[in-house]
Symmetry: C2
């Protein structure tokens, strides 16, 4: 107790970003140099008086398991966020999975529980759904088109399929991946689930969850021309904010839903999972 209060005094005196009692969280990925999580999370932790940091960890796929073993054995490490290419490999490091993580088959979060077990979750889909609703778009009764069935796309597909949507059409350059996702979702969802290119005139919500659009000279992931005037076009790409897809939807007067919504709305969900103040909310900040 004496030591701790001394440290607290030193920390206040120096405004040090870390002391001997700081709890550590990591975002693991490769490349990691572009991620916003360390700045965003560490700023919020400081703002909420939580003595913890979100640290970047540049880790290749081949070293991921070794690094994870070490982090889990470091007693002041409390959790991790996973980004490319670690979301599926992270499954091997969880002792317990949330139901949605189990369905999706990939993790973006891992936390040390009070009982010492490591619990995995995937809140990409929950963040996307919360973002949609906050943007005034309800999936209830909607016909949804999902383009891209990788980690993020699968998670969004699963999440929407558990809501009261009318139908879900999934599509991917890898037809097998689209068919696998559709088959497993169809087994538990009340929605009509199909694969391939839908009749776009009947789609209410069209989502790009593929990486197409990250590069300036990418083609459009799909055409928005046949969508009905009330349709929403969503993109999970955060940078650029106005992708070519969203630009073409905007020019047609369709409602556009930006990629940052997903991360902004996943933050408080992830914070609650980590046992941090659930009011962690990055939405509406100046960034």
């Amino acid at each position: 107790m004496v030591e701790s209060s001394k440290l607290a005094d030193e920390k206040r005196l120096l405004d040090a970003p870390v002391d001997a009692l700081t709890r550590l969280f990591y975002i693991l990925g490769s490349p990691i140099a572009h991620v916003r999580a360390p700045v965003v999370w560490s700023t919020l932790m400081r703002r909420y008086g939580v003595n913890a940091l979100m640290l970047p960890a540049e880790v290749s796929a081949s070293n991921f398991d070794t690094v994870m073993k070490g982090l889990k054995l470091t007693e002041n490490v409390d959790g991790a966020i996973f980004t490319m290419p670690h979301k599926v490999a992270a499954m091997n490091h969880a002792d317990v999975l949330t139901e949605r993580a189990q369905r999706v088959g990939s993790l973006n979060l891992l936390r040390r529980r009070a009982d010492g077990a490591w619990e995995g979750d995937n809140v990409d889909g929950a963040g996307f759904l919360a973002g949609l609703r906050a943007d005034g778009v309800s999936p209830d009764g909607a016909n949804v088109y999902l383009h891209g069935c990788g980690g993020v796309g699968g998670c969004i597909g699963w999440t929407l399929a558990m809501e009261k949507i009318a139908s879900l059409t999934v599509n991917d350059v890898d037809e097998h991946r689209a068919r696998d996702l559709a088959r497993s979702i169809a087994a538990v969802s009340n929605a009509r689930v199909t694969t391939g290119s839908p009749s776009m005139g009947e789609i209410d919500i069209a989502i790009n969850a593929s990486p197409v659009g990250l590069n300036a000279d990418d083609p459009l992931p799909f055409s928005v021309e046949a969508l009905p005037p009330h349709a929403t076009v969503a993109d999970v790409i955060m940078e650029p904010s106005m992708t070519a897809l969203l630009g073409s939807a905007h020019r047609r007067g369709l409602h556009v839903h930006h990629g940052r919504n997903m991360m902004n709305h996943a933050m408080p969900i992830a914070a609650a999972f980590f046992g941090l103040p659930a009011s962690f909310d990055w939405n509406g900040e100046a960034l």
Copy 2:
């Protein structure tokens, strides 16, 4: 480049303690909750504009090797400091050793070199020596008594024995440890090296490098009564600053040399080893 400068802007805006480009250093120990290194180093890094943090890592002896493997495979980890109980085990994780680390047989520093090799060093002794000299105490021609031949004691013994001292007497509750240290030092030093309790009337510098004095009800590690009036009594214990040993020396009017000197003077040496600004110097700060 665009991404990096964006991140820099966000960081300035938010005064975030970390971003995606932050380089990581660790101090590994158990228990770790009392160490000052995270506050001290991280404050200096911030002050010198170095985008790096010194993080605490609470790691047990049995998990040390696994954690080290993971840290070395995390590409933005640049170095580590070792404290109890890891200083000897750390030797296994160095590809290259400085000459002094090789002699001493334990490490307190490990750094990732530009060529990718991990280099180990031990600057406890160099820090102690620099502190002594800064305090106006020259080891040249001195008869030195060293009480405690563990990690820190061994490093101090080796360092002083490479200077122009006249004699070194080493002592330890574990006689074998004292004899082993004396034998290996005697093989390369020009000083007269012996073990056991010396004739204290001939000692110029008496050093406690044992943990005796950490607890309030510890006995004195040795008696200062027979020391000559010009003698210096040094303690490596940092907390309490005025140990019972130093208190008894002070009452006799002897020159006392506090434990913090070693760490304060080891800092710029360690910073240079890590490739950080060599002016890192904690001496004279308000702490």
